[in-house]
Amino acid sequence: MNPLERYAPLVDDTEAFFAACERPLPSVVRVNTIKTDPERVRRALDDEGIEYEPVDWHDGLLRLSDGSPGTNWPYFHGWLHGQEEVSAVPALALDPQPGEKVWDSCAAPGSKTTQLSAMMDDRGTVVGNDNNLGRLSSLRHNAERLGVTNLVVTKQDGRNFSLKDFGFDEFDRAIVDAPCSCEGTIRKNPTTLEEWTLEHVHSVAAVQKGILSRAVQATKPGGTVVYSTCTFAPEENEAVVDHVLDTEDCEVVAFDCPLDSVSGVTEWEGDSYDSSVTDTHRIYPHLNDTGGFFCAKLEVGG
């Protein structure tokens, strides 16, 4: 059975949902404003005869008509980074400011990390952490290519991340772009769901709870924590948010999602979640012709 069938009751238009999941994903790039600006990129792509379409909700995102984002001069100069449209949402929700200290707990290969750096004008500190050495080397490679200088790379388990080596003991903001069952990436990797099991969903949810708890603890009172996944399972989304609402000092805050989305669910398979999770966002593939995504914004109390 297709595991995505479980989500049919959550989706308004199931036919459109399943049809979108079958289609390949458009190739999207983000303009790296550390090195250039959208206008110059468009000029350079025009000169090279590369076709693209602007993304209407963000002038720094372009849809390329032709497959590989990597073979053009703007990419070579580190002006572009291949990044899915939905993947640009969490950094916007986090809204980091130049000069702040920001923690990206699950950073590799760095699409969101480097977007955070750019939003901060490459000032202050982004600590990009991951526990996978191979993926950290992709993060390093991407950051170098994009000319990022405000990134500190660490290799720790996000669940018990230690700040003892740094000259500060709390972050202004944190983002947890968690490891997940990746159901929403089906359009990019059609074989993603072949190994899907409910046990895996539950075990990865335990890791997600651990990392998100640590992110709330490591962020200053009044600071912001964003939680995101590329999966549909409420066990990995609303249930994880509901867990930290219980165990840590924080609350869900509303944010404007720049893409069409629906509210987080308060009930799933006999469990119910805190009513504030309706301020989290679910993005289904058919809503904006993107991958699937979940994003929540939290404010730390205290």
Partner: protein, 177 residues
């Protein structure tokens, strides 16, 4: 910091001393010397680097960081690689030249069309150049302005591309009219 550094340890970053006179780790380049290198070789003004700190991890591998941190610090990466100081001739990194090379006022070799494409593929090529031998910034015109492509080594009438393997790309020559 209690554990002051006196030698280079492979897995940690140490901040560069302000000047050679402040040096505690043997052979470590000073911040002043790094700024002086970019100024003398490429005419990049020291002011460009005013808000950055410089670090060494392992012998001669210099990194540039947008913020400050306790020194020494044990992390996997601190900012971006910027310079290699191990050899007699210091070599700026590809990332440094792409990020800061736009400020250069000398030792920039302008190439275009097929020459720029060959450089991006990592190839060596015969070229005339009246200036100094050594490391040059290869640049071309893209999107209406001059932009650094990377670091080239000019010797014996030849421009050798040092674009790292992982960054090399086969691109179509941009027309120059």
């Amino acid at each position: 910091m209690s554990d002051a550094e006196t030698e280079n340890v492979g897995q940690q970053f140490g901040r560069l001393p302000a000047t050679d006179a402040d040096r505690e780790v043997e052979d470590r380049a000073s911040r002043e010397a790094v700024l002086d290198f970019f100024d003398r070789r490429f005419g990049i003004e020291p002011a460009v680097f005013e808000d950055f700190t410089f670090w060494e991890k392992g012998k001669g591998k210099i990194w540039i960081f947008a913020d400050d941190a306790p020194s020494p610090i044990r992390v996997e990466g601190l900012g971006m690689t910027v310079l290699r100081t191990r050899q007699e001739h210091w070599k700026p990194t590809q990332s440094a030249i792409q990020r800061f090379g736009g400020h250069a006022t000398k030792n920039v070799i302008e190439i275009d069309g097929e020459a720029a494409a060959a450089f991006a593929r990592g190839e060596d090529q015969d070229l005339d150049w009246d200036g100094d031998w050594g490391y040059l910034i290869a640049a071309h015109e893209v999107g209406g302005e001059r932009e650094p492509i990377g670091v080239g080594l000019y010797v014996y009438g030849e421009l050798r591309s040092t674009v790292p393997k992982g960054n090399q790309e086969s691109l179509s020559p941009l027309s120059t009219d």
